[in-house]
């Protein structure tokens, strides 16, 4: 318990300090980039909760990013409130969506689960593109009529991004210290053994899926609150999952620090490729793809996993 406080306190304090001080020190563009980075970390944590800790790979998490963002934009417009007040609706929508899809998707295993969720993301994108009320394929801006102080919106978005990014990390961290976290990892390592010691595999997977969907929706909503414009092409982009997956892979699957380090590397490499070397965006993705292939072949536990390779029970077949 002592160890818990030693880690959690400084992280929480540093985050609070950053949230309070940084808006006074940095310009808007840098704040926006930092917010994006923190929210990407939150999303990668949520993806890792499913893939790294529960053994369920997802290729459809862009669905939750978009669901959260559209929930925020719709609620803000319909209720006439400031987006900061309607933000909590996003995780509720994301969680409900996950709970609704789970009975269907859990019929599919491994790769088929992953692609099944991708199909739902595709259905979502098609439906939103057809819906005039949601802005169709052209998209729509965030309704700011409920905002009293427009000047402070950028600062508020940044502070919320810190809260969400660090909060989601805290959620995974707390979850992994609970009996449920142990159950998740048992299911990942050996489903049969988990069943035989009385773990309700279906329910455990459901909880992980719902938390992951809710968290991703919250981070997605916070991201688009900062962007203030939402279109289906960008919100349902498969590159959201590419980012979550590659960041987690680089940093280390199934570790808390993995997505944090991975997202840092992802953003650093992106800046290096785009700004430093002046290459078009495609080359960056090619580089990341090659890197992911190399990691999956030579270091499947991620770069960090090379160092802290832990003993893992053999898988049964």
């Amino acid at each position: 318990m002592k160890h818990t406080l030693v880690v959690a306190l400084p992280v929480g304090l540093a985050a609070a300090l950053a949230a309070v001080l940084l808006p006074h020190l940095l310009d808007g563009g840098t704040l926006r980039l930092l917010a994006e980075l923190l929210l990407a970390m939150g999303m990668a944590q949520m993806w890792n909760l499913l893939a790294g800790y529960t053994g369920m790979l997802s290729l459809g998490h862009q669905l939750f990013v978009a669901a959260g963002a559209y929930a925020l934009f719709e609620a803000t417009q319909r209720l006439g409130l400031a987006p900061a007040w309607t933000l909590p609706i996003a995780p509720i929508v994301g969680g409900l969506l996950a709970a609704l899809l789970a009975p269907l998707l859990f019929r599919l295993r491994d790769a088929y689960f992953a692609i099944g969720l991708w199909v739902f993301a595709e259905i979502g994108a098609l439906l939103v593109s057809k819906s005039a009320a949601l802005g169709g394929s052209a998209g729509k801006p965030l309704d700011l009529s409920g905002v009293e102080d427009l000047e402070a919106l950028g600062t508020l978005s940044f502070r919320l991004a810190v809260l969400v990014g660090v909060g989601l990390l805290g959620v995974v961290w707390a979850l992994m210290r609970s009996p449920l976290g142990l159950a998740l990892r048992t299911v990942r390592d050996n489903e049969l053994a988990a069943r035989s010691i009385g773990v309700d595999v279906w329910r455990v997977r459901l909880v992980a899926f719902v938390v992951s969907g809710a968290g991703c929706a919250l981070a997605g909503a916070a991201h688009y609150m900062g962007a203030m414009f939402l279109a289906p092409d960008a919100a349902f982009d498969i590159n959201w999952v590419v980012m979550m997956m590659f960041a987690t892979l680089i940093g280390g699957v199934g570790t808390i620090a993995g997505p944090v380090l991975g997202v840092l590397a992802w953003f650093a490499l992106r800046e290096l490729f785009a700004t430093g070397l002046g290459l078009p965006g495609g080359w960056y993705l090619i580089g990341m793809g090659l890197f992911a292939m190399a990691v999956s072949l030579y270091a499947p536990r991620g770069l960090r996993g090379v160092r802290v390779r832990r003993a893992r029970p053999p898988r049964s077949h």
Binding site: L108, V119, I238, I286, M288, A292, M293, S296
Partner: protein, 288 residues
């Protein structure tokens, strides 16, 4: 009458969709692996076709189909021997998925960098515009030829797997790779042949589809989802189920398009949803 024409045209398109799914089903059946770059190979077949048709304008495009298929076999063989076998050896389910997903990102963006993102199509010549009247319905010759080719390929694969030495070895390797190894079979070599066949089907289907629908380097994801839905609708591990699944999906798409001009894909996804809800084992069911 219009509706009947839509159903027939959808069924004809479905032959191609069946071929999309066939490669995915074959690899999954033998290696328990889903190739997430399957769609990118379908698009690669289309780009190879564009190049071939441009360099050999005097040859009818249909005659180039075997070249595309052979190239696909080579690509698949090299892919499997070069990288995928290494990922399979690790024995966990996620590693090959990450590998093939990484590959799909590389191929997709590589094709964008090489060829640009503009939509393209292959001009199939006189064959694609010709048609016949059957019982008052106007049917394209090209879709008929493509469906016939698809059925023929399904039958050939069925024969190969059921009645040839190669097929026996493939099935044995699928059931128990380690025991097959004791019998002197090298599972790695068998896997390379299977992936070769799968990519050959994928690139051939991509080449054939490009003569009736335009494509971009980003079409791969869409094609892969179609292939995936074909496999789930047909039933995991069933080859003829994949053909039936493809035909049903093609009908759903073309009829949906008639009903709602810009959302054919939505109806295809809807069909997938219904099957998942009410027939989770697909048309043919899985015997496990």
């Amino acid at each position: 009458m219009d509706w009947i024409a839509s159903v027939v045209n959808g069924a004809l398109l479905g032959g191609l969709y069946g071929l999309f799914g066939l490669g995915l089903a074959l690899v999954f059946g033998v290696m328990r692996l889903v190739n997430l770059a399957h769609g990118e190979f379908i698009v690669m077949g289309a780009f190879l076709g564009v190049g071939l048709v441009a360099t050999l304008p005097q040859v009818p495009p249909m005659a180039l189909a075997p070249v595309v298929a052979l190239a696909g076999y080579g690509v698949g063989w090299v892919l499997q021997r070069g990288v995928v076998n290494g990922a399979l050896r690790r024995g966990d389910a996620l590693t090959p998925l990450m590998l093939t997903f990484g590959l799909s990102v590389v191929l997709r963006n590589g094709m964008v960098s090489l060829f640009g993102a503009d939509p393209r199509a292959i001009d199939g010549g006189a064959l694609t515009s010709a048609g016949v009247d059957v019982a008052g319905l106007r049917l394209g010759i090209y879709p008929l030829v493509v469906l016939a080719a698809a059925v023929l390929l399904f039958a050939a694969l069925h024969w190969l797997l059921r009645h040839s030495e190669t097929g026996r070895v493939m099935r044995a390797t699928a059931d128990a790779p380690e025991i097959a190894r004791l019998m002197g079979v090298s599972p790695e070599r068998v896997f390379a042949r299977v992936t070769g066949l799968a990519i050959a089907f994928a690139m051939l289907a991509g080449f054939l589809l490009a003569q009736r629908t335009s494509f971009t380097p980003f079409s791969g994801a869409e094609r892969m989802l179609v292939a995936f839905e074909v496999v789930i609708i047909g039933g995991l591990g069933s080859f003829w189920g994949a053909l039936a699944g493809g035909v049903l999906l093609g009908i759903a798409q073309v009829v949906g398009q008639k009903f709602d001009s810009n959302a054919g894909a939505l109806y295809a996804h809807g069909l997938f949803l219904l099957v998942l809800l009410f027939m989770p084992r697909g048309l043919a069911g899985e015997r496990r």
